[in-house]
Symmetry: C2
Subunit: 324 residues, 2 copies
């Protein structure tokens, strides 16, 4: 198969290098595919007539627009959330979209554990005291034995559930349809989310952004949480109503929030969230390890290329109707 890897020279973050490619191919025991690397729009123009597989990034694909590439069987995007690429009419007929789902789990699990531990220990209030230069003790109960609900039982959410279980927290998972999952104490359908919120000390959003999940944590659902609950978001910013969350933090209804994703990103200067108390902001870094990101992604890509070559369904195929 003829593979083309397209990045743009002015957007080098997480760009896959030829050396990384060949290392990963050797590690995966892959036959040497016919691969080319492009860094300009002209490079893509030269490659598109013969490419079977395009490997690229969200921002690059958005700039390329509708792909005129008659042989293209698959586009692999070096990201898991593909909300920025929807709707998917830019895909050539007969080409599928593959994401790098599986790349982010290790760091996501650690971020979820960290965020929930911080919220249980009332770190947001302690950080506010520190900013004020004031010694203001706030005591708290241990995390172990408290309750957490994780929306999304995929790579991110299940890694979070495993990390929380190791810390004595049995997490409830929320997904499209209820189904047992080994990492969760129980799993409920998103249609039953409201009933779960009242017994949720810590709510973690770790699901894809789709038409069905946009604004999932709205003002009404925030009100269903118990007083003093904590909120974590590492899915996408638009999963929650940011103004309603800030109001809930201002009133103390929500005791703290740890957010890695925002709408829009970067969070604009002067945005209300920058100055909301008891809110911890991390700038979309929760799940990305530059030292291993491309190696993990390429391992996943090669598993998908093998499936394509052997006529099996590639495990990372995105369903355009579901949006993930």
């Amino acid at each position: 198969m003829r593979v083309h890897v397209q990045t743009f020279a002015d957007d080098p973050e997480f760009a896959i290098t030829p050396a990384q490619w060949h290392d990963a191919a050797a590690g995966a025991g892959e036959p040497p595919d016919d691969v080319s690397f492009g860094v300009t729009p002209a490079d893509w123009d030269a490659a598109r007539a013969t490419a079977d597989i395009l490997v690229s990034h969200t921002a690059v694909l958005r700039r390329l627009g509708t792909l005129d590439a008659p042989r293209l069987r698959a586009v692999f995007v070096n990201a898991t959330g593909v909300d920025g690429l929807a709707p998917f009419g830019w895909l050539p007929p007969g080409a599928m979209l593959l994401n790098n789902r599986g790349t982010h789990g290790q760091k996501a699990g650690e971020y979820i554990a960290m965020a929930v531990l911080m919220l249980a220990a009332r770190l947001p209030a302690l950080l506010a005291a520190q900013r004020a230069g004031q010694w203001r003790p706030v005591f708290s109960a241990p995390l172990a034995g408290r309750s957490a609900t994780i929306v999304g039982t995929g790579d991110l959410g299940s890694a979070g559930a495993r990390a929380l279980r190791a810390l004595g927290v049995a997490a409830t998972g929320v997904r499209t349809v209820a189904a047992p999952h080994p990492d969760f104490a129980d799993v409920v359908a998103v249609a039953d989310l409201d009933a779960v919120l009242a017994r949720t000390d810590f709510l973690v959003l770790a699901c894809p952004l789709t038409a069905a999940t946009k604004n999932l944590l709205d003002r009404r659902r925030l009100a269903l949480l118990p007083a003093g609950a904590g909120v974590v978001n590492l899915g996408r910013g638009a999963l929650l109503d940011g103004d309603a969350l800030c109001d809930a933090l201002d009133s103390g209804k929500v005791s703290g929030a740890v957010l890695d994703v925002f709408d829009p990103e970067p969070l604009p200067p002067g945005h209300r969230m920058w100055r909301t108390e008891n809110l911890v902001i991390t700038p979309h870094v929760s799940c990305d390890d530059p030292g291993s990101y491309n190696a993990r992604s390429l391992r996943i890509l090669f598993a998908n290329l093998r499936a394509l070559r052997e006529g099996r369904p590639p495990p990372n195929r995105v369903d355009p109707d579901r949006g993930y």
Copy 2:
């Protein structure tokens, strides 16, 4: 045995109430001891001639001074670190000091996990960006597989080692003399600490403050850490050289620190640490859960009273020469 519980009305934090006492005694299947509760110096004066056991707090004991109590067999202090009570000449001849070692493990383990996760994720730098209202991504490697050294393999340190193990970190323990410990990958003697520091990504201080551990993490030892290491202290403030740590944070040699203990406490207004970048301050709250503190302490006290009654060595006896 005649037990007297002494607090002072103006220092009510963690004061043991008669209801808590009787609940815990019933829960422990203890015979009803002859117990009295005092809240003024006069109450202690009335009790001291007949008391076999005094149950109290560090601040209260410091105010009582040398104890003139001829029958006293043991003083139980509702704290683990007894550095604030040394030297121990105030104890009547023949009386032993008992601490509440074992009360703090659950929260300590969670605090150590939280602090090390925060340092691995470069939270201190991200919090500084947030304070500045600036979107400044800092990426980091996962915690799993990195190295941690915990000084102190007692209640706090071993709970931290278990939590870190659950997160994929094999911790090295440091104690007075090397000896295998099930929660640690390996344990070295404090005499060999220097050799361990060079391979320590995260250094956690969780040991008692004694003449031998005062200033343990001094300027020379800080320099032995690898560039970008993280430091956590939940033992006592005087275990480390605060000025040297601030210098190491200012230079970037240490990438972040999470401190729960200070010298002195409360950390004075305007102290350099309040404004040192990449330093997270929590005001001596890491290990104390008001909801369970006294119940945990009393469970430990009753186990010690049972040992005294049965002629066994009480497990929480403090060795005045060691200071813990």
